[in-house]
């Protein structure tokens, strides 16, 4: 029986309101990821205990969704919009430019130093800004959108993030001529 460490107690508090057989699994996973940035093995075990499931059941459900992650998030995530309007306006090229700049192969992916990552986004209706990405800081829950990108601006933004710039500074980079 695992020890009730402080880390576990913290996770347990995040999911305390959820009950077995109430369809609470997704909500519990969201709660943990929102506060801790990802679902650790330990977190999935605690969620399983809380909801009367096996840890594998929690992982099975979580791994179905692109949104849940199992490793700590990067300092700043670039959420790349995969929606139709963005795609029509060269979203694919934007993605490739960002991935190449960060030295990544695929979405999701993080730079080795954990400064920047790229995750998958869905259309949220801001299509007039296509092609766009969101910049997200998991630790502060701050989200900024960056629209009307082109490859050159996307590269400048990604380069700034790669080199440790703040969200503001990276957005500034996209505005430079």
């Amino acid at each position: 029986m695992p020890l009730e460490t402080e880390a576990r107690a913290q996770i347990r508090a995040l999911v305390a309101e959820f009950r077995p057989e109430h369809g609470d699994l997704l909500a519990a996973m969201h709660s943990v990821q929102h506060h801790l940035g990802y679902l650790s093995s330990e977190a999935m075990e605690v969620i399983a205990e809380q909801l009367g499931l096996f840890p594998a059941e929690v992982y099975g459900a979580a791994s179905f969704y692109e949104e849940f992650r199992f490793t700590p998030p990067a300092q700043t995530n670039i959420r790349w919009c995969s929606g139709p309007a963005c795609r029509l306006k060269n979203g694919g090229g934007i993605r490739d430019a960002i991935l190449a700049t960060l030295g990544l192969h695929d979405i999701p992916g993080d730079t080795e130093d954990g400064r920047a990552g790229v995750i998958l986004g869905q259309c949220n209706g801001a299509c007039e800004l296509a092609p766009m990405v969101w910049l997200e800081q998991p630790s502060t829950h701050r989200i900024e959108f960056v629209g009307n990108l082109n490859a050159a601006r996307a590269v400048r933004m990604a380069r700034a993030l790669r080199d440790g710039a703040t969200i503001e500074a990276s957005i500034e980079e996209t505005k430079r001529a």
């Binding site: 029986m1 009730e4 999935m44 096996f54 840890p55 594998a56 929690v58 099975g60 791994s63 179905f64």
Partner: protein, 842 residues
């Protein structure tokens, strides 16, 4: 029963059964790659399509979903059915290394050959560990897949498009190679619905869907306990036994029984090249049926063959040197005869083994009579007799009619065992079944957390030694024993009081290291509880689970002190005093097994003659005058008597190696040379003789109804509650709790081999965090666990599931090192408190 027409034949079947099972029973070949007999259909593979005449919306129906109804007309071989199954199969094969599956030349190809179809054969069936024993392969043959148009001609195949996913080879038991997986989810359902372990899941989605373990890490980090139920059902090479993975294609199968605990699961050894290479559950034992545990599946490979004795040994000064069997026998006989003529037969004692067969035990008892000594016992004999005495007092017999199959019907079960999941895993599996399928209520009385806990209705967490008080309290409806959580106690009392009546049962599993006083007290209280629950029928509801496989059998055979005979601790004491000068030890290692290791070591050292009959050069054998090399258990014919008193036929799955002899033959030769000229020297004759002497069933009866015949079961029992056992005084230090762990085999532990603790999951002293805090130690610290005299160096693991005041260490830790911390005869009322002494960091 109703009638259906299957391919033109009239067939009787019970209405509502899954059609696919009926079809298979009729011997009609049908593919059913995702179905597991007896479980709800998953209907994922679609390979079981048949034609059910008149069915809606289409006659093409899944045989695993379709339920038998009167007058149903079923055809499995119409052109349309065949075509449909082939096209379904081609979808499954789209992501499988499959070209061999449709190739008529397969039998001619060998790995490395130039394949007819592309180039060098370096993958696919021909290089797959499951080649020729693969259900997917057979399924392709059944549907004649080679006849189907090859959809990939000229097309890219997804299997070759993506790099193969990483295999997991990180543990000693289960290998997972996902590139062969067809996502039938049988493993997921076996682990969930047959085992209730839930270690496997489908993860991801789309073309990234995969089987995953636990929270996505490696298998040994998950809850998997390596039972192998998933291996049994996996239709491909994805989940395989690691040992003998590449040679596990058996030529022949031998029915036998596991001798790693008293459940006595029936198993089959797959044999190739005169050795077992694989184990499958064998459904004969009506309780274990399709399930076994990691010890049953891998017990035969726990010790490398080179570590077995193939030659006998005799002492030459400080050393044991190889000798012929006759030399060793002569040395043994001479040494025993010398002691007998100088000091009398009373100076010789005989120790048996609870892993021996009945035939061996019977001959060992005869050997003792031939020598003329009443001093016969085994390391845990006192514990067994204490329990048997308690049962006799309560039920007038210790051979009660209770059988584990009844446990599957019980509605309320109190389990008094340190960790029944570890010690008798299949009992734990069946209890989980009962909870899940029939909402049975289980109450656990134990000092430590077990994997059964999550299914329990109430858990009574007691300090070691307080089990008797707790059980008696449950019987009397009394107040909570000291240290037991009040709310948990109330829940337990509630379950017990509501559970009184025809479907209640008590399971009691003592630990060898407990000592007779503790085990007797707990057994008395457990029997009282059974009587409180079941009244006059309590004898049918009391399940005594000895730790080791054949405790009941060897006791029946007379491995117990005769008139005026000494028990195990008395023998050791007498040897220390120099009164007992010679020991014959058959297949036991008291240094591993018995409390009081220091005393036992001293006794062994002082002996004039020590004759050891074993298949291993155990730590005890190192003190021997002569070691007679015996064949290992899987090369020994015999019978064992499980906790149910079922007499199980343990069959030999390989011939003796080198100069190993059969245990029976060795003991007969010894007995013969020591005066018993009639001693039977073969298994069959020995069994005949013991059947005549003890009233045991004959081999004709045993083999006539395998795993059904029970020995010496009392036809009537009484129910006399006994006075409550005296309470065990509490003390301020830690009390040792120790018992059988899951991953260690007796053999491996007995020779103290490095890989004895295969998984290293449990090699620590488990402490309650409060006790650890008081001692100033944390998880990972190395400490001395000491009673003030002896000490054992061990790492600490903090665990909330250990009762306060408890130090739990698996019995086989470090080859039984722990036994030095217990007094000879086991932990009794007066056992000294243990302390934890933190070591300064080096």
């Amino acid at each position: 029963m109703v009638q259906i027409t299957l391919n033109g034949q009239t067939v009787e079947a019970s209405a509502g059964r899954r059609l696919v099972e009926v079809i298979k029973e009729q011997g009609v070949a049908i593919t059913n790659l995702c179905y597991i007999d007896g479980l709800d259909p998953y209907a994922g593979c679609r390979t079981c399509i048949v034609d059910v005449v008149g069915a809606r919306p289409t006659p093409l129906q899944l045989a695993c979903v379709t339920q038998v109804a009167d007058g149903m007309v079923v055809n499995t071989e119409t052109a349309e059915v065949k075509r449909t199954r082939q096209s379904v199969m081609s979808l499954i094969l789209a992501n499988h290394p499959d070209r061999c599956l449709t190739c008529h030349r397969r039998v001619h190809c060998m790995p490395g050959d130039i394949c007819l179809r592309d180039d060098v054969v370096t993958h696919r069936c021909l290089t797959c560990s499951k080649n020729y024993r693969c259900e997917l392969q057979t399924s392709c043959e059944i549907v004649d897949q080679g006849d189907f148009e090859e959809p990939w001609v000229g097309e890219p195949r997804s299997y070759y498009e993506t790099p193969p996913p990483e295999p997991d080879r990180g543990n000693p038991f289960l290998e997972y190679d996902p590139q062969m997986c067809i996502l039938c989810t049988r493993c997921v359902r076996a682990c969930d619905d047959l085992r209730h372990t839930g270690a496997v899941t489908l993860s991801g989605k789309g073309h990234r869907t995969m089987i995953a373990f636990g929270t996505g890490g490696s298998i040994h980090e998950s809850d998997c306990n390596f039972c192998g139920a998933c291996i049994d059902v996996c239709p491909t090479a994805t989940l395989m036994e690691k040992p003998n993975k590449w040679v596990g294609r058996a030529d022949d199968w031998t029915n036998s029984a596991c001798n790693s605990c008293a459940v006595g699961c029936t198993i089959s050894y797959g044999v190739a090249d005169d050795r077992p290479v694989i184990v499958r559950p064998d459904r004969l034992n009506p309780f274990s049926r399709d399930q076994i545990c990691v010890r049953g599946r891998f017990g035969y490979v726990a010790v490398a063959e080179r570590e077995r004795l193939t030659r006998s040994l005799v002492r030459a000064g400080q050393r044991l040197l190889p000798a012929t069997f006759d030399q060793a026998l002569t040395t043994a006989v001479d040494a025993l005869t010398a002691v007998k003529s100088a000091h009398g037969a009373d100076a010789i004692a005989v120790l048996g083994s609870p892993l021996a067969t009945n035939e061996e035990a019977y001959l060992l008892a005869r050997l003792a009579r031939a020598i003329g000594t009443p001093h016969v016992d085994f390391s845990h004999g006192m514990v067994h007799r204490a329990v048997a005495d308690a049962m006799r007092a309560a039920f007038s017999t210790d051979r009660v009619p209770a059988t584990l199959t009844d446990l599957e019907q019980a509605q309320t079960v109190v389990v008094a065992a340190l960790d029944v999941e570890d010690s008798h895993q299949v009992v734990s599996v069946r209890l989980k079944d009962a909870v899940i399928k029939r909402k049975a209520q289980v109450v656990i009385v134990s000092p430590k957390w077990t994997a059964l806990d999550r299914w329990a209705a109430a858990i009574v967490r007691v300090a070691p030694g307080q089990e008797a008080a707790a059980l008696q309290g449950l019987a009397d409806g009394g107040s909570a024993p000291a240290g037991v959580d009040a709310a948990a106690w109330a829940r337990a009392l509630n379950v017990v009081s509501r559970g009184k009546g025809a479907s209640a049962a008590v399971v009691y599993a003592p630990n060898g290291a407990d000592g007779a006083a503790r085990a007797g007290a707990a057994a008395t209280a457990a029997a009282n509880l059974a009587i409180a629950l079941r009244g006059a029928e309590a004898g049918s509801a009391f399940h005594y689970l000895p730790t080791d496989a054949n405790v009941l059998g060897i006791a029946d055979m007379g491995i117990a002190p005769g008139a005026g005979g000494k028990s195990f601790p008395e023998i050791i004491e007498a040897a220390q005093r120099g009164e007992v000068k010679a020991l014959v030890i058959h297949a036991d290692n008291p240094l591993l097994n018995a409390p009081g290791r220091t005393a036992i070591e001293a006794a062994l050292q002082g002996l004039q003659a020590l004759v050891v009959i074993d298949s291993l050069r155990s730590t005890t054998a190192e003190y021997a005058t002569a070691v007679l090399a015996a064949a290992p258990f899987f090369a020994t014919d015999g019978t064992i008597t499980n906790a149910d008193r079922r007499v199980l036929h343990q069959r030999s799955a390989q011939r003796a190696r080198g100069q190993q002899s059969d245990g029976v033959a060795i003991l007969a030769a010894l007995a013969n040379r020591l005066g018993d000229r009639e001693a039977p020297s073969g298994f069959t004759e020995a069994h005949e003789a013991l059947a005549a002497a003890t009233g045991y069933p004959t081999m004709a009866q045993v083999d006539g109804a395998p795993a059904q015949v029970r020995a010496l079961v009392a036809t009537s029992t009484t129910a006399k509650p006994q006075p409550a056992p005296a309470p065990t005084p509490a003390h301020s230090g830690l009390t040792l709790a120790t018992g059988r762990s899951l991953y260690t085999s007796w053999d491996a532990a007995s020779i103290h081999s490095d890989d004895a603790d295969k998984l290293h999951r449990e090699e620590a002293v488990w402490l309650n965090p409060r006790d650890a805090e008081a001692a100033g130690v944390r998880t990972g610290d190395v400490v001395d666990l000491t009673d003030g005299i002896a000490s054992v160096r061990i790492a600490v693991k903090l665990d909330d599931g250990v009762a306060a005041g408890t130090a739990y260490v698996p019995h086989y830790y470090d080859g039984g090192a722990l036994m030095a911390l217990l007094p000879l005869g086991g932990a009794g009322a007066s056992t000294a408190a243990l302390r934890v002494r933190a070591l300064q960091p080096a």
